[in-house]
Symmetry: C2
Subunit: 287 residues, 2 copies
């Protein structure tokens, strides 16, 4: 197997493949990180995506954005240049549905399978091998092979439709979270301004119709103003940008998602680039 992109997500994901006994060849744009990974996990490091991919039945990648995906997969030394018919490219990057369809077409032209497979579960999910993987694929048999291949780092792996459907599902996830976290932020800040004990309030309302994963896991840290962990605001903005661009194409209105994206821009302006998405409450607590 090959794994391209050893960031905070890709590094531990590739590690799980090695731990599962696979012979893993890795590629990373900053080569020293690839060597470090090999030092910890074994396997080999390759100088280009094509070299890493050569001879692998499965090539996983997890990079930054659409441009990175195109460069790593389709560039002159990109993964596809090294892949043989019958092998499969799996893209774990959160990217646009367009780039997923573009990769699917390029792969199909070479007889290579493709699955867009963005993940949720964050860094903790990657480290613990407990990611949720949302897949789009034009071929169910290819998906079935990939589901087995990614099992070492998956808690769940579902096929949602043809190429791009994985990305679209991840977009739905981020859209739901945006409005939810802003609502929770307004609730937590209102509770504080009203002199209530946020933990006591959550203990009561967290059993009913206001309940959410975010309330269960973030209300308490929001009340304390703790944001140095979790899913970074700069990543959320990247993801929401993808959602808003896709909505322009499919005609779905996203009034609150667009507004929350602007609130995240304000969080960035206040130095919260690496803060958790729950830092929306910071704007309300400090205006």
């Amino acid at each position: 197997m090959a794994f391209l992109g050893l960031g905070v997500m890709g590094g531990p994901m590739a590690g799980h493949l090695a731990k599962a006994g696979h012979d893993v060849t890795v590629y990373n744009r900053t080569a020293s990180k690839g060597d470090q990974w090999v030092g910890e996990h074994g396997g080999r490091s390759a100088p280009t995506p094509a070299a890493a991919a050569a001879g692998s039945e499965f090539v996983m990648m997890c990079v930054g954005n659409d441009d990175d995906v195109r460069a790593v997969a389709l560039g002159p030394d990109g993964a596809l240049a090294g892949m043989a018919p019958g092998s499969v490219l799996v893209d774990h990057t959160t990217a646009s549905a367009d780039v997923a369809r573009e990769l699917a077409a390029a792969c199909a032209a070479k007889g290579v399978g493709f699955v867009d497979a963005p993940v949720s579960g964050g860094q903790a999910g990657a480290v613990n091998g407990a990611l949720t993987i949302m897949c789009g694929c034009d071929d169910e048999a290819v998906f079935a092979r990939v589901r087995d291949a990614v099992a070492p780092y998956a808690r769940a792996c579902a096929l949602l439709g043809s190429a791009g459907a994985g990305q679209l599902t991840k977009m739905v996830n981020q859209i739901c979270i945006a409005g939810l976290v802003q609502g929770l932020s307004e609730g937590v800040n209102f509770a504080q301004k009203a002199g209530l004990d946020v933990d006591a309030v959550v203990a009561v309302i967290g059993k009913g119709a206001a309940q959410s994963w975010q309330m269960d896991n973030r209300a308490s840290t929001m009340a304390k103003g703790e944001f140095e962990f979790g899913f970074a605001v700069e990543w959320m903005r990247k993801d929401l940008g993808i959602c808003l661009a896709e909505a322009d194409r499919n005609g779905a209105r996203l009034p609150v998602t667009a507004l929350v994206d602007q609130f995240y821009a304000q969080v960035l302006a206040r130095g919260g680039r690496r803060w958790d998405t729950s830092s929306l409450v910071h704007l309300l607590q400090n205006d």
Copy 2:
């Protein structure tokens, strides 16, 4: 015991008191409803709140809004006029924190206890005796007595602070729900516009950071455009109005809550007065 206000919530709540063996005297503005309740549950119907309250250790009320609360509790024939020192008035209406404090003061002047005790759990919670009750009370001993008294229709009953704290907690609940349901609406509509199967998407993302009670219980009906059930938009607007007025006082900004309130106004304009709060998605599905 006395119960004042036999609406969709109060009627079944009072019924649970009767089923628990209490001798219940009821009052309802439309007297025929009181007689109907007595026909089903026994007890007695009284012509005024004061007459219903006379001789009762506990007087529960569940009426429409602040003005109704004032009329039923403090009017010339209001509950307080019939109550003796040592008895307790429990207001289950979702109302302002101001009216709660006003009632607490009026009760205190007569040696009567007061608990503001708005509920969540909806009509189903009232019918099934499984409401969550959020209490504000200046006297813990009074609260402890009330907790036992409301047990027949409570799944949970918590003291959140002094008089008004129950209402403030209910406000936090509605604020959290407003942003959450709008985010979910945008997600569901986006999924539909993107050609995804909403139930399949929810089965995947409903296990992670986007999870919510609303997603678990409403995403599927939202996708189908089913809104003829649940918590009515007109009630939600009343509640959000209370939240926005209180925020003007305590300085908490509610940008998305205020926006969602306007969206609910649009739902009302489209004939959705009795639709469930999840009908926000209708605006996106039909623009």
